[in-house]
C-alpha cells in the first residue's frame, strides 16, 4: 500500500515534470521560430499558437489536474507545430532570392534536427496515450515491453536528430575554413 502510494506520487510528479517541460518546450520553440520566420501574419500566428498552448496546459494541469498519464495530445501537438514551423522555414529559404549558402547556417541544421525528430516522434507521442489507456487494466510485462520498445524508438529518433545537428555543425565549420 505504501509502495503503491509512493509509486503513485512519483508517477504524478513525473507527469507534472513532463507537463512543465511541455510548457518550457513550447515557449522555446515559439520564440525561436518567431525570431527565424518571416511572413505577413507571423506575430498573430505564432502568438495565437503559443496562447492556445499555454491555455491548454493551464486547463489540463491546473483546472482538471490531469496527472494520470503522459500528455500525448500536448506533446504530439507540439511536434506537429514544430514540423509546421520547420516547413515554413524551408519554404522561406527556398523562396529567398539571394546567394546565402543555407548549409553554412546553424539555424538550418538546428531546424533540420528538430524536423527529423518531431516528424518521427509525432506518431509515437500521439499513440502512446491511447495504447497505454487500452492496456492499463491488464498491464502485463509483455505489454509493458511493447510500450518500452516504442519509447526506445523515440530515443533513437532523438539520437538521429542529435547526429543531424552535430554532423551539420561540424561540416559547416569544416567547410567554412
Amino acid at each position: 500500500m505504501t509502495i503503491a502510494a509512493i509509486k503513485a506520487f512519483y508517477n504524478e510528479r513525473n507527469i507534472g515534470i513532463y507537463n512543465v517541460f511541455l510548457l518550457f518546450n513550447l515557449t522555446i520553440i515559439c520564440y525561436y521560430f518567431f525570431k527565424i520566420l518571416i511572413f505577413r501574419f507571423k506575430n498573430i500566428f505564432i502568438g495565437l499558437v503559443y496562447l492556445l498552448g499555454v491555455v491548454y496546459i493551464i486547463i489540463k494541469n491546473l483546472v482538471f489536474k490531469d496527472y494520470g498519464l503522459f500528455d500525448s495530445i500536448g506533446f504530439s501537438s507540439l511536434s506537429a507545430i514544430t514540423v509546421l514551423f520547420s516547413l515554413f522555414y524551408y519554404r522561406q529559404i527556398l523562396k529567398k532570392i539571394d546567394d546565402t549558402v543555407i548549409y553554412y547556417t546553424l539555424d538550418f541544421w538546428i531546424i533540420s534536427a528538430l524536423f527529423t525528430y518531431n516528424l518521427g516522434a509525432f506518431l509515437i507521442f500521439l499513440s502512446f496515450y491511447f495504447l497505454t489507456d487500452r492496456i492499463i487494466d491488464s498491464y502485463s510485462d509483455s505489454e509493458r515491453d511493447l510500450l518500452t520498445l516504442l519509447w526506445g524508438l523515440h530515443n533513437i529518433l532523438l539520437f538521429i536528430s542529435s547526429i543531424v545537428l552535430i554532423f551539420g555543425n561540424i561540416w559547416r565549420r569544416f567547410r567554412k575554413k
Binding site: 524551408y90 529559404i93 527556398l94 539571394d98 546567394d99 549558402v101 543555407i102 548549409y103 533540420s112 524536423f115 527529423t116 516528424l119 518521427g120 516522434a121 509525432f122 506518431l123 509515437i124 499513440s127 495504447l131 487500452r134 492496456i135 502485463s140 509483455s142 505489454e143 511493447l146 510500450l147 520498445l149 516504442l150 524508438l153 529518433l157 538521429i160 543531424v164
Partner: protein
C-alpha cells in the same frame, strides 16, 4: 495483446517512414539550394561577361569616334588652316604697316593653331598612340599641358621600359588622359607628378597633383551622380584590362591616382 502488438509495429514502421520522409525533405531542400547557388553563380559570370563585352564595345566605338575626329582635324581643318596660311603668305606686300602687322599676327596665330591641332589630332589618334607606346604618349600629353603654361609637371620612370599589349596600353593611356583632363578642369593644381614603375611582375602608374583635392565619399558610398561618372568610367576601363585602380584625395592636399597592372607574361618586348 496481439492487436496491441500490431499497432505498436504499425506506429514503429510509420515513424521510421516519417523519419525517412524528413531526411528526404532536408536532402531536397539542400539539393535545390545548391542548384540555386549554381544558377546564381552562372548568372553573375554571364552578367560580368556581358558588362565586359558592353564596355569593350563602348570603348571601340569611342576609339573609332576619336580616330574620325582626329582624321577630320588633320585632313580638313588642318588643310583649311594651311591654305589660309598659304594665302596670307602669298599676299602682296603692302605699305600699310598696321595691316602688315595684322597679317603677321594672323600667320602666327594660324601657325599655332595648326601645331595645336596637330598635337590634338595625334593625341586622339588610336594608331599614333599605339605606335608611340604608353610612356611616350604620356610624355607627349605632359608636353602639351606644359605648353599651356599653367601647370608644371614632371615624370619619373623606374625600371626598364616594357611594352604591353597595344590594347592595354591604349586603355591605360585613356585613363591617364581622363586623369589629366580632370586635373586641368577641376583640381586647380600647380604641379602634376607622374611616376611609372616597371617591375618584373607589374606596372605601376601613379599620377599625383597638388590641387584642391576632392571628397570621394559620395563615390565610395555608391551615389549615382555625374560627379563619379568619369571616375567610374576609369575604374571600369581598368577592370577591363585586369588592372587595379585606386584613387585617394585629401581636401587642399591634392589627389593621387594609382593604377597597378600585373604582368601575365604578355609583354611584347623589352627595350
Amino acid at each position: 495483446m496481439e492487436k496491441i502488438s500490431q499497432e505498436v509495429i504499425l506506429v514503429t514502421v510509420s515513424s521510421i517512414f516519417l523519419v525517412f520522409v524528413a531526411l528526404g525533405i532536408i536532402s531536397l531542400v539542400l539539393t535545390y539550394q545548391k542548384r540555386k547557388l549554381t544558377y546564381f553563380k552562372e548568372k553573375e559570370v554571364m552578367k560580368s561577361i556581358f558588362q565586359q563585352t558592353l564596355l569593350q564595345a563602348q570603348l571601340e566605338i569611342q576609339e573609332q569616334t576619336l580616330k574620325n575626329i582626329s582624321q577630320e582635324i588633320h585632313d580638313n581643318i588642318g588643310q583649311a588652316l594651311s591654305l589660309a596660311k598659304l594665302n596670307l603668305n602669298t599676299m602682296p606686300p603692302t605699305n600699310d604697316e598696321a595691316l602688315q602687322q595684322k597679317i603677321l599676327n594672323s600667320k602666327e596665330l594660324i601657325s599655332k593653331a595648326i601645331v595645336d591641332l596637330r598635337d590634338l589630332s595625334r593625341s586622339l589618334d588610336t594608331d599614333y598612340v599605339q605606335e608611340m607606346g604608353l610612356q611616350r604618349a604620356i610624355e607627349y600629353e605632359l608636353e602639351m599641358i606644359k605648353k599651356t603654361g599653367t601647370i608644371e609637371n614632371s615624370m619619373i620612370v623606374q625600371g626598364s621600359l616594357c611594352r604591353l599589349e597595344k590594347q592595354k596600353e591604349l586603355i591605360l593611356f585613356r585613363i591617364v588622359q581622363e586623369t589629366f583632363n580632370n586635373i586641368l578642369k577641376h583640381a586647380d593644381a600647380k604641379n602634376i607628378n607622374v611616376n611609372i614603375n616597371y617591375a618584373a611582375a607589374s606596372l605601376t602608374l601613379v599620377i599625383k597633383d597638388d590641387g584642391k583635392g576632392v571628397n570621394l565619399q559620395p563615390l565610395n558610398e555608391g551615389e549615382n551622380n555625374n560627379f563619379g561618372l568619369g571616375i567610374r568610367n576609369m575604374h571600369s576601363r581598368a577592370k577591363l584590362i585586369g588592372a587595379d585602380f585606386k584613387m585617394s584625395s585629401i581636401i587642399d592636399g591634392g589627389t593621387e591616382v594609382k593604377i597597378i597592372l600585373l604582368n601575365e607574361g604578355d609583354n611584347e618586348n623589352k627595350q
